[in-house]
Assembly symmetry: C4
Amino acid sequence: MAPPEDLPQMTYRFLGRSGLQVSAISLGGWLTYGGYTENEKTFECMKAAFDSGVNFFDCAEVYSGGKSEVVMGQAIKKYGWKRNDLVISTKLYWGTAFGDNPVNNKGLSRKHIIEGMAASLKRLDLDYVDVIYAHRPDRQTPMEETVRAFNHLINTGQALYWGTSMWDADEIAQAWRYADKLGLIGPIVEQPQYNMLNREKVELEFAKLYREVGTGLTVFSPLAQGLLSGKYKNGIPEDSRFAQQKVEFIQGWWKRNGKEKFDEMIAQINQLEPIAADLGITQSALALAWVLKNPNVSSAIIGASSAEQIYENVKAVAAVEKLTPEILEKIDGILNNKPPAVVERY
Amino acid sequence: MAPPEDLPQMTYRFLGRSGLQVSAISLGGWLTYGGYTENEKTFECMKAAFDSGVNFFDCAEVYSGGKSEVVMGQAIKKYGWKRNDLVISTKLYWGTAFGDNPVNNKGLSRKHIIEGMAASLKRLDLDYVDVIYAHRPDRQTPMEETVRAFNHLINTGQALYWGTSMWDADEIAQAWRYADKLGLIGPIVEQPQYNMLNREKVELEFAKLYREVGTGLTVFSPLAQGLLSGKYKNGIPEDSRFAQQKVEFIQGWWKRNGKEKFDEMIAQINQLEPIAADLGITQSALALAWVLKNPNVSSAIIGASSAEQIYENVKAVAAVEKLTPEILEKIDGILNNKPPAVVERY
Amino acid sequence: MAPPEDLPQMTYRFLGRSGLQVSAISLGGWLTYGGYTENEKTFECMKAAFDSGVNFFDCAEVYSGGKSEVVMGQAIKKYGWKRNDLVISTKLYWGTAFGDNPVNNKGLSRKHIIEGMAASLKRLDLDYVDVIYAHRPDRQTPMEETVRAFNHLINTGQALYWGTSMWDADEIAQAWRYADKLGLIGPIVEQPQYNMLNREKVELEFAKLYREVGTGLTVFSPLAQGLLSGKYKNGIPEDSRFAQQKVEFIQGWWKRNGKEKFDEMIAQINQLEPIAADLGITQSALALAWVLKNPNVSSAIIGASSAEQIYENVKAVAAVEKLTPEILEKIDGILNNKPPAVVERY
Amino acid sequence: MAPPEDLPQMTYRFLGRSGLQVSAISLGGWLTYGGYTENEKTFECMKAAFDSGVNFFDCAEVYSGGKSEVVMGQAIKKYGWKRNDLVISTKLYWGTAFGDNPVNNKGLSRKHIIEGMAASLKRLDLDYVDVIYAHRPDRQTPMEETVRAFNHLINTGQALYWGTSMWDADEIAQAWRYADKLGLIGPIVEQPQYNMLNREKVELEFAKLYREVGTGLTVFSPLAQGLLSGKYKNGIPEDSRFAQQKVEFIQGWWKRNGKEKFDEMIAQINQLEPIAADLGITQSALALAWVLKNPNVSSAIIGASSAEQIYENVKAVAAVEKLTPEILEKIDGILNNKPPAVVERY
């Protein structure tokens, strides 16, 4: 399926304080590729993304027990894309997760980082990735060991840059502290969750990192597992054919916060509908554009099971400039979760 | 021979201040593998250990003139174990020891470290070891040369970590001094002898290292060459079929300390018998559990010539929690060799 | 075509504060090789240069979309020159420029430096270049990333030295600042334009760099696109068969400065004719010798489409010593563009 | 020819402040191997040396235009010696010297060090040398470039250590200054001329280096081109079949110092004859033992064209202990060239 004619021009952003450029929208393999999406569909999605100007494909050793890397690697070969036109990332921490012995096949020890990278590159059938992430912080392995091991991957040409995912701000600062002390390369990017409903980490906790070490962000769940698309405005249907795993996320939310809070949240999201309508865009596009409006976001990672979904999401790129200060203020009023500004001086 | 049903769950510990996890019980090739144990028995032992959750196998270039590395490498291939599920260590210092020209084939020069590592990996038929040890201190080679050479092995991917064996505390501190000065990786682990009869090095001399540089310990002879198993409670039988080399160790002890002292020691060990009986464990299990009770011990290295011995020893893991402060105090009273506490402040 | 009998001995100069020696005249592939010069002519030119003592051949990934590297590499193979007798340089920044996606295939990110180097070496069919240049400054990529990436090329044996082209003095100083801070290798050479008409950058702006970091210069356009050869003394002929691209340069000049200024410049250049005649050399030789008279110039890069042109230019080497202080002063009087001396103390 | 029965046990010394051990007598390829000694004789000499306990073989890229490396490499293969039992050194500076273009094939630039090392290893047919020397100081290449390039050889596994030859003390100190500043490895050894007639460099100029940086010495011409063997006690025979090149050395001496001075020197040397006779050793053995008596000398490099010569020289090892303080004082009285002691404090 060819890209629609009204597809906007993709925009590219530097990945934090680095010279690497990534498309504002990137495609991730979480849950979908190698998982509940069949391989033919995966190929179709990756092609639609590439044809839309997406150059950044995100994976992890743990996604679908390693199968996500395999199928994404196959797509690259299948379409004969040039390696230098792509930005490929994967993540180490969980091992291949399903069935493997967790001892030494998990975490950020030098052993798992080196063994995990070799295994990921073999699955991807690539010589190197552009960005290798620490998928979680490992609070039992000394930070110095982890920083050294990621630099080993860079020095041996297996990765060009490294980053973190789901780390706390002080952990990122510690990693930079060791990198600086030892003359090594620090993590250029963090991958947190970021969307209209989850703002504190990106807008408050990380605020000083952007200035001090130039952390870039590739954010996941920009649509909050679909909640912000508006498709649950009448609640979650009982017999939804919707992917079981996503429902599980929402059920987890229920368990933690209660159904009542959930319904309040849905009501709040529904108030965003008229704003999207006024701008002539879908609620998804509004949510995605809102994420991209944050200049610290280098790329918003979307998941997709069809080319249509990808084209739909890419349209959000054109909506970014529509988000005027007035509209952003109106959205803040509805969301009522804007973190306080970090006071710099007293 | 399959593991017995009552085999306890293996526990894993971090190897000092590193992210590498080793089984509390590890299997060493000293004297046995490639030596007086035939290869089929070696394979059986390694399989029994692996099936018991042992992930850490210890070797040295000098063990049986290099044959220990060969047979342990064969076992890994034979059973198709995944490399990432194993922690393999070997040690450099003595060369292959039997018949080789000692000039430059011994010690911790850059030459022997680099040439010895290549030879060990070839014998093991592996691409890398997890831990490479300096088997002894080399007081003639400058420490800086040794620290640089072990880092060379790590940088070239032939080893993931390095450690020391039979070094003095101040030598370990000197190695760290050069590592720090040059931004290199220091030794994460020391391998000393440690058991109820030999406590001073581990409990007194190394006390400050644990805090300052996070030295982990893999200890050998946890049963003091079998003395602590209680099997010599009536003395050493004249025509013992017991491995000749072990007897030689004990004879050496006699020469240094005299038969009278030896008999005193046996009497002392015999007093531990009722404590083991009260806990419902063997004397060996008591001795091994006592070693593992020390939180600075990452792993106790056992030697074994049969699967039964391995299962027997692994049972000690479950006995560790039985060693209450009261029981430990009672044992200290019998051993009468508890080193003084290191006074931290005056 | 064999070198003429009166060809002077080539001279060699150190490339800035390095131990690498380059011929005073070097041959560049810009516009010509792989471009408007046919390959047989390129081979002939390179042979004439080599036979004249030229050891330095300059290229760039962008020259003729990569074809310049291909044909220059073919010449090296064709004539069986020994690699150690050659100094080969290429430049990274623009990608292969014609038709390639500019995202990540341009600039001085770690990604493009590593991917671009591999692609250049493949086109050149060489294992390494002697000098790899940053073809332009990249003001969006952090300088530290760029300095580290060029050092990665040196550490992995793909290049022996690195340099810059068309950088400002403060950018070169910044690169050295990061190199010094991190214990890395700084850029030894800058490649600017330098000729009688363009003096400020080399004679004023860079003045302190020569002393502080020892920057060497390989200069391009020593004849100012042919203007200084005197062949346009009567203006640019309307139907010139002269290479279209060079005319475009001059037309660009017109657009920026106006035809009147251009005619003034031609009149000024014409005043150099009698000086050349007095010395018994061509106007080209005078202009080239004048560039080489500057001791900070390591090599003047010429372009040529025939062996004759090369021999003609090489003759300038013998003219350098003819440029006495008196003659240089006379030339300064005509050019009227001598930058002020950098005052060192007040 | 098998070693004589009275051949003394070879002794080994550490190469300066390093962990590398070299035989007190080493065999060099200068002038002889690949040169005026035929290859079969070279093999015989190397075997005799090896059988005598010599483990250190010294070469240089320039010796016999590279042929010395070739034939010494062939001997190693021919006799199947184990690489770890040998200490092989070669030297870079002069290129292969005979007929090669000197531009960039000479000196201590990064280019020549890297290209020269590759060429030497190819000629030697080895993966690495133990020691790579800078054969002369290069006063035109920045010292930092040279220090970095030799470390590059070590980091890439092509050499284990590096040293200098014919450098001044302050140049060695400068090399260490850059090594220290950059955290790199400094030169562990210097190769100067040292014999009874040339003492100043080793005994005076280098005196502080031994203490400060631990410089070891491998010395050449311990017999002063044969002068100290006593075989010219009646002057140089006119029609000597003695190797032409050695005569040229002596002729050079004549030119610089005059025949009269030469005859004085011969007379002085003749006074050593009775001392040797008293000790029951040859004059050569006395001269060689005298060199080895200096504890800063790690090895004395001899040249030899026959197995007999080697066995003869090796005997000097046993003579070292015969040189009592009294005898040394008597020798000093004859030589009358003992440098003043370096005054340490005032």
